[in-house]
């Protein structure tokens, strides 16, 4: 829970940009934040959103570490070059975006990296927002070994056939049968992608296939309502959503 640490506790974390062997054995950058100490600590793969491997996601990753998780946020755009996050994102955009296959491979490698740590408790979750919410669902449906999945308003879990492309060839909802980890979904009812109807459609599929999930829908919030640097921010809904995330990860990764 946010702001519930003991004031007399020893709390130390480290954070750095490092490299790890990702998809295809490529050494790519990752922002890693971890609690100091022997552990054991659960791990979380943090997937960044379409606007890039940016400062918001560095802070997001550090927040997880300060709550007792070893968190790794791979630079999914690493192979496109280096510069400021928005310049790199523009390059990725000009090339049609990052391929789902690349994200799945890098995420699977991040899962293995976390589980190989001597401080690991053997449990790993995955989380992402926006395009990365979709990616979190996709990865957990393609790669076994995750213990919890958090989808923060991931648009494009439900996709019409005409939205499928070479780089995004599969609608994640079609892989629901393969999702073998509990799923937490956080959504704004004013969002246009996913729309409330698409969230309902995803939930119906999870229910039909007997999957473990919990969805929370917030009134007065649209897309990206955790993003405190843009007008979409909704503090009350965001803080409640963060509490849901930490309760969910606590249950499935620390329990």
């Amino acid at each position: 829970m946010w702001n519930s640490f003991r004031t007399d506790s020893h709390q130390a974390t480290t954070a750095e940009i490092t490299r790890y062997a990702a998809g295809g054995g490529d050494l790519i950058h990752a922002y890693v934040a971890r609690p100091e100490g022997d552990g054991p600590f659960p791990g979380v793969v943090v997937l960044h959103h379409m606007p890039g491997w940016d400062e918001f996601y560095q802070e997001f990753t550090r927040r997880l570490a300060s709550h007792g998780y070893t968190a790794i946020c791979p630079d999914l755009y690493c192979r496109f070059g280096h510069g400021t996050p928005d310049d790199v994102t523009a390059t990725v955009r000009s090339q049609g975006g990052v391929a789902d296959e690349s994200v799945v491979a890098d995420s699977g490698a991040a899962l293995s990296w976390l589980k190989s740590l001597p401080t690991s408790n053997g449990k790993v979750g995955i989380i992402g927002s926006c395009s990365a919410g979709r990616h979190a669902v996709l990865v957990a449906s393609r790669v076994s070994g995750f213990d919890a999945v958090v989808d923060l308003w991931g648009g494009g879990v439900v996709m019409a056939p005409e939205q499928l492309t070479e780089k995004r060839p599969i609608a994640p909802i079609s892989l629901t049968a393969n999702l073998n980890a509990p799923l937490l979904g956080i959504f704004g009812n004013d969002d246009q992608s996913p729309t409330p109807a698409q969230v309902d459609q995803h939930e119906a599929e999870l229910k039909r296939l007997g999957k473990s999930y919990e969805f929370h829908r917030y009134d007065g919030a649209g897309h990206g309502f955790f993003y405190y640097h843009v007008p979409a921010y909704r503090p009350q809904q965001a803080m409640d959503g963060w509490a849901k995330v930490f309760t969910f990860f606590g249950t499935h990764l620390k329990g």
Partner: protein, 88 residues
């Protein structure tokens, strides 16, 4: 919303970025999350030269109304240029 709306075209021109003028080879026009404009989405105009690196970029974020106004003025200027008979 990540719209994934983006159109790219080769271009010939020059742009002035953080380190001065450079040759442009590509333009991308998108409509997606804004980085600086305080709206959720914006028209994203990127003038690029990938051969020079990802920071060889002139970036513009516009509202849709501004994009329409810009198109109108571009078309007017091009039409006037062609009618003038003055070569490039």
């Amino acid at each position: 919303v990540c719209t994934n709306i983006a159109q790219t075209t080769p271009i010939q021109g020059s742009g002035k970025g953080a380190s001065g003028w450079f040759t442009l080879s590509r333009a991308t026009v998108g409509y997606d999350h804004a980085t600086h404009l305080q709206t959720e989405h914006a028209l994203l105009l990127d003038f690029l030269n990938p051969a020079l690196g990802v920071d060889a970029r002139v970036a513009v974020e516009l509202t849709l109304d501004s994009g329409r106004a810009l198109i109108s003025q571009l078309q007017a200027a091009i039409a006037a240029a062609e009618a003038s008979g003055v070569a490039e």
